[in-house]
């Protein structure tokens, strides 16, 4: 039982991170109908920016100013993501209004490779570390209930808390502010939103900025766990099944989808793995998503599309 719970918790923590990346996809899809292939590249780009900025700030401040250096790194990387969002809108999206979804998808594919290259040109292509001072030592919970207790990775716990705070902040932003209302309006109907005075271009910049910040937080957490390296860009591929499961248009869907995939991966690896020779973790999510596509193509929480024939 203790082992089961341990696996479950491990899965939830990993799932939280998938949710973060998936959230980036959902935000942009909702507001502009674009499936943003570049979300993974944005995670890499943001993480690279943060790693190098905090490193440089650390050198400049000298020695033991870890928090301040990280803060400068975070704000600096946030600024960079703002510029990226603004440029993407200015140079690409603005000229592709009303184009086919495939065209936009191809555009984001181009942006993805461009960002990956640019990131490494600007910030270097080696492995960097982000040290935001997360404790690496594990703790034991409930050792009075189970023999030996449940082993929890403190780092995962912190990461989950950060992710939860971000999600809560985003939902306040979307539900309680007039800008959030405008974003939801644009997501539903571009033309109607413009007719009541909502400028589409500004909304797109805001959405890409928010997605940039989400990418930054995801990149920061993944980066501090695994180091900032090129493979971060492929994290986005791991989040694809999450958006299929949760629905491309649903914020809660991204979160719950992420948790389901995270838990599913870990549990299947531990309990089914031994029978098929292991390695389930790598493909489990995709098979689950494939199954979902057959049964419920709009995902758990997505909007069902009813077309009039």
């Amino acid at each position: 039982m203790a082992f089961f719970l341990e696996t479950l918790f491990g899965g939830l923590m990993a799932g939280m991170l998938y949710s973060l990346v998936a959230l980036g996809f959902v935000l942009i899809y909702k507001a502009s109908g674009v499936f943003n292939f570049a979300q993974g590249a944005m995670v890499l780009f943001a993480a690279l920016a943060m790693a190098r900025f905090s490193e440089w700030a650390g050198v400049w401040l000298g020695g033991d100013q870890l928090f301040l250096a990280n803060l400068i790194g975070f704000v600096g990387a946030g600024g960079v993501m703002f510029v990226v969002a603004w440029l993407i809108e200015r140079l690409a999206l603005r000229h592709l209004v009303n184009q086919e979804g495939t065209t936009l998808l191809m555009a984001t594919l181009g942006i993805a490779y461009f960002l990956e290259g640019l990131g490494q040109t600007l910030f270097g292509g080696s492995i960097y570390k982000i040290d935001i001072g997360m404790p690496k030592d594990p703790v034991f919970w409930l050792d009075s209930v189970f023999e030996g207790g449940i082993l929890i990775n403190k780092e995962d716990l912190y990461a989950a808390v950060i992710a939860a705070v971000l999600v809560a902040a985003l939902s306040v932003f979307f539900q309680k502010t007039s800008t959030g209302r405008a974003l939801r309006a644009v997501a539903d109907d571009h033309q109607a939103a413009q007719s009541i005075g909502i400028p589409l271009n500004r909304i797109w910049v805001i959405v890409w900025c928010v997605a940039g910040v989400v990418a930054l937080v995801a990149g920061m957490i993944w980066g501090s766990k695994l180091g900032v390296q090129f493979s971060l860009a492929t994290v986005a591929m791991r989040a694809l099944p999450v958006v299929i499961l949760g629905g491309l248009t649903s914020v809660p869907g991204a979160i719950i989808g992420g948790l389901i995939i995270g838990v599913g991966e870990k549990l299947s690896e531990v309990y089914l793995g031994p029978y098929v020779g292991g390695g389930i973790e790598i493909w489990f999510a995709y098979v689950l998503a494939l199954g979902f596509l057959l049964i419920r193509p709009q995902g758990l929480f997505g909007e069902k599309i009813i077309d009039r024939v």
Binding site: F173, S178, D188, A192, A193, Q194, S195, I196, I198
Partner: protein, 261 residues
């Protein structure tokens, strides 16, 4: 009925032409709209009525001509700029924000009026909170006016068609527009719904003094509620005047009924 005061020209459309490739949607259309009046644009299907409205609203860019609104002349503006000048509109094919409730849909119409910034709103700091309440109150007033109190929390996608049309009107009203463009407000409605809608249009005009331009292809309804009527056919203006003048216009009659053989 009390005679209302019809003021000066506030919208002046001059020599508008609109072409899509080789197709002429509008050819040299001119007309004006006076303050506080109800102005109708009628014509058979495909006459160019919606194209005309979309030119005023900034959705289309006219190939030639200019539009003057309250002394400001423009050949093209983006829709959101037109909105910030005080021109609101409704849509022929419903364009509501389906995922949102009735009250949130109408609240989006207040977007341009909200002044407090994002962080104050998110943290619900005093002034932002008071402002939000003020806007809610205004929206509630519109909801009462349109008699949709019972549905204020319902997602609009679940409402019947006639009520969705009212929400569409409500959202435009929330902008407190000086000029309201209505794109076939009665299309697809039954007789009773049409009567309700006509009543709302007249009430808006009388109570708020809003100038209204409406498009309709059903001549019957329009003649009863408009002060002046423009008639389009195949993208050309074939008549302009009071309902009575238009009704007896030979060209209009033949456009609607076909020429005798």
């Amino acid at each position: 009925m009390a005679t209302k005061h019809i003021g000066d020209v506030i919208l002046d459309v001059k020599n508008i032409s609109l072409r899509f490739g080789g197709v002429k949607a509008l050819t040299d259309i001119s007309f004006n709209v006076r303050e506080h009046e109800v102005r109708a644009i009628i014509g058979p299907n495909g006459a160019g009525k919606s194209s005309m409205l979309n030119c005023i609203n900034g959705v289309y860019r006219p190939t030639e001509g200019a539009i003057t609104f309250r002394g400001k002349t423009f050949s093209h503006m983006d829709s959101y700029q037109v909105a910030s000048m005080g021109i609101g509109r409704t849509f022929q094919n419903l364009a509501l924000f389906k995922g949102m409730s009735v009250i949130d849909n109408i609240m989006t119409g207040r977007n341009l009026k909200i002044k407090s910034n994002l962080f104050m709103q998110a943290l619900r700091i005093g002034p932002a909170q008071r402002e939000e309440e003020k806007h809610r109150e205004f929206v509630e007033h519109i909801i009462d006016f349109l008699e949709i109190q019972a549905f204020r929390k319902t997602p609009v996608g679940q409402l019947p068609y006639g009520l969705q049309k009212r929400v569409d009107l409500g959202r435009a009203l929330a902008m407190e527009p000086q000029l309201l463009l209505l794109d076939e407000p009665m299309a697809g409605m039954n007789v009773e719904e049409k009567q309700d809608m006509s009543r709302f249009v007249l009430d808006v005009n009388e109570e708020f003094g809003t100038t209204i331009v409406l498009i309709e292809h059903d001549m019957g309804v329009v003649m009863d509620i408009s002060d002046r009527v423009v008639v389009l056919d195949y993208g050309k203006k074939i008549g302009d005047g009071t309902p009575d003048e238009v009704r007896t216009n030979e060209e209009v009659i033949s456009a609607y009924l076909g020429t005798g053989h």
